[in-house]
């Protein structure tokens, strides 16, 4: 099927206004969450380019198809970065191509630093998009504080292209860190690791990463706490954390820049799961519930991020969504299948009244059902999985 590649917002609007059959909306196509879907591929990759960058105002505006790499390089030249640290899904999903900034926000992709600074959605300041009727819509702006009208910016973040096709985004950026270090505890079981991470996160020492890699074939469990800032400040806070967490045994401290960056990049991209067979699930839960949820799913392998609030699970291929979600019925939280067979059950089923609101919004934004039909669908379809 021929991929539609509009080169301007106006062209995209015309395509959607005149469309009769559904589209599979994508940016760079590196994060096909939800598996294969029907429809003509429609990519924003030709809507590319940074349109405004004001380092002194910590803001950037870019068209949706702008490669993430271009954005990160431009920011790095000014010592700034996307602080929410978006994950690169290519290694995990076996995809190729260029991740785009539109894709990052459409999927609300955030990495380890989310625990400190917030998610992608927290950094998104403004959007332009074309809705399912072919109308160009603008919401938000390029300033950090804006309560003018409803916040459709947040609504668009994480809506996976089901409400509209993003064409331009403005977002907040932050200064990069002058240095970084990792405080490491080894050999903890999951429960005590999460306790240690909670203690670190409940300290005044501004932890910017809090993860746990359970022990396995390649060595003992590693519990990792990242600190960023000036060298003096990082060393000081590492020392204070080592005191506060002394009961957990000997704590290491690594402040080799390359090594620290490598550990956290590997964690962000789930390198441990690359090339391994099985489905991958992403669970968002109350941190202290995480070890119990993992224990209730024998045969799964976990990586904990966000102090335990984010659990990545590698499970046997074809594991039923209901099985993953059973423990969540008790604890709250939600699960999304990031890698696995196509089909329903990818997204968490919602309680009926919330699902009705979601469905209602979808009908308003895309009355003809053109945008990613089947993705993020209502409860009826999911219940049948």
């Amino acid at each position: 099927m021929k991929t539609m590649e509009p080169e301007s917002e106006a062209e995209l609007a015309a395509i959607l206004a005149g469309a009769e059959a559904p589209f599979r909306v994508q940016g760079g196509g590196t994060r096909p969450v939800g598996g294969a879907r029907d429809g003509v591929p429609l990519t924003t990759r030709r809507l590319s380019g940074i349109t405004l960058y004001e380092p002194g105002a910590l803001t950037m505006v870019a068209r949706a198809g702008t490669p993430l790499a271009e954005i990160e390089a431009t920011l790095a030249a000014e010592g700034q970065r996307l602080a929410f640290e978006p994950m690169d899904h290519r290694g995990l999903l076996g995809t190729s191509g260029e991740p785009t900034i539109g894709g990052v926000f459409a999927a609300n992709v955030s990495g380890p630093r989310r625990i400190q600074v917030g998610a992608a959605r927290d950094f998104l300041l403004g959007v332009r998009f074309v809705d399912g009727r072919g109308q160009v819509i603008r919401n938000g702006g390029r300033v950090m504080k804006n309560v003018t009208g409803y916040d459709l910016v947040k609504l668009m973040a994480g809506s996976f292209g089901t409400l509209g096709v993003l064409t331009e985004l403005s977002f907040k950026v932050l200064p990069g860190a002058k240095s970084a270090g990792t405080v490491e505890i080894t050999g903890q079981d999951d429960a005590s690791a999460i306790t240690a991470l909670s203690r670190a996160l409940a300290s005044p020492f501004e932890v910017s990463g809090a993860a746990h890699l359970p022990g396995g074939g390649d060595g003992p469990a590693r519990t990792l706490i990242r600190l960023e800032g000036s060298q003096g400040s990082v060393a000081y806070r590492a020392g204070r954390l080592q005191e506060a967490l002394a009961q957990f045994g000997d704590l290491g401290f690594d402040h080799d820049g390359e090594a620290v960056a490598g550990i956290w990049r590997d964690l962000r991209d789930l390198r441990r799961f690359h090339g391994r067979d099985g489905d991958v699930w992403r669970l968002s839960v109350k941190p202290s519930d995480a070890p119990g949820i993992v224990a209730a799913l024998p045969g799964s392998e976990a990586i904990y991020d966000w102090g335990g609030g984010l659990v990545w699970l590698l499970v046997p291929r074809g594991t039923a969504p209901a099985k993953i979600r059973t423990p969540l019925a008790e604890t709250g939280g939600h699960a999304t299948r990031i890698r696995g067979e196509a089909g329903g059950g990818t997204f968490q089923p919602l309680p009926a009244p919330v699902a009705a609101l979601q469905e209602g919004l979808r009908r308003k934004f895309d009355p003809r059902g053109l945008l990613n039909p089947g993705l993020m669908d209502g409860p009826a379809q999911m219940a049948s999985d």
């Binding site: 002194g56 105002a57 950090m144 309560v147 400040s233 109350k286 934004f365």
Partner: protein, 479 residues
Amino acid sequence: MDMPPPNPAILARKSELVARLHRALPSDAVISDPAETRVYECDALTAYKCAPMAVVLPGSTQEVAEALRICHEMSVPVVPRGAGTSLAGGALPSADSVILGVARLTEVLETDYENRFIRVQTGRTNLSVTGAVETEGFFYAPDPSSQLACAIAGNIAMNSGGAHCLKYGVTTNNLMGVTMVLMDGTVIELGGAHLDAAGYDLLGLICGSEGQLGVVTEATLRILHKPEGARPVLIGFDSNEVAGHCVSDIIKAGVLPVAIEFMDRPCIRACEAFAGAGYPDCEALLIVEVEGSDAEIDEQLETIIEIARAHDPVELRQSNSAEESARIWLGRKSAFGAMGQINDYMCLDGTIPVSQLPHVLKRIGEMSGEFGLDVANVFHAGDGNMHPLILFDANKPGDLERCEAFGAAILKLCVEVGGCLTGEHGVGIEKRDLMIDQYAPEDLEIQMAVKDVFDPGWLLNPAKVFPLQSSAARRDAAA
């Protein structure tokens, strides 16, 4: 500012409505005596007043649901009210409406330090959320200046900010979950003790929706451990432009202060006369505050001072103690009081890109001459959220109208330079009719379509946020 005329058909249903509310709620939770409903005739935008038909003060989510269900069945508009501190008229009633106040919902439901959240009923004041966790060293970050009085419900409705949002974000960045009642009485839960709720980001959508999508009765809020310490530096400049460049350079240097406050000469003079904080008489003052251990603070302040020196400051005063910090903040914190002593004032809330600061301040100065009204500027410079204070005399005929026209001109300027009408106060009735300056008709139409989904009858706070003309068809259909 017009409000739509009350619907006589609804007014005629008052006694039936009150009787039904009385049957469903405890007797002291329903107020209908005109002498008592007058208490609710306005919020902090006191220029506009209108007593509601009745007031309900439910004591639980279930009672909120009951009250809404009755109003829904009888097609009576409902205006939700937190603590009534809105500067935008967000809680202004209409004569044919019921005020639904959350003042009795003040309980702390759960505190969880391990998972770093607190769950509260939303009538609780902002400051008392921090009050509930500070013995353990924690705080709730958003800190609007009305934090002593304002309720979490209103904070969520308006997505309130504060002085420290450069580092900690605004309400939407600190809100993890809500219990919300829809207009038809349906109770829904969004989010919770986990991050990033499932499905569409409805939590993000309802935050800042000005009580038009539902009534939030409970909220799960992120709490953080307090920093070890915080200290400011005060920097004076002889031009707004240079001060603006200094702000930009501080941000570019990679320091992220917790607050960067900016005051211009009229504001400095007024504060000095009022509080005697010892501010220099200069064109622009910055107060830049950083956090951390003593050594960390010194290190950051050193960087900031070095940057400031390159801009030729006329004054540079680093705080080395809690007393010195308090003195530096004294003038800034009394700015509104100082203005109030001089005259009546109107506080604006537009946001601009930080790079436009010098240009906008210059234009505001020029417009001040054109409108014949004085204006003082005090604002959060790090995030471009301006609070021009226009001075006027409420007893002088025509002054309020002139002040409103001046305010509208400033807000249009904010939009023109790439900013927005309101950074943290909300649209309410105050900026409702300016929305067409920021948004195209289709941008507003899709926002109204969102309300159609949550509140098809347009009964919740119907005459706010959208220009009356834009929302007329929908409101009329409801009536």
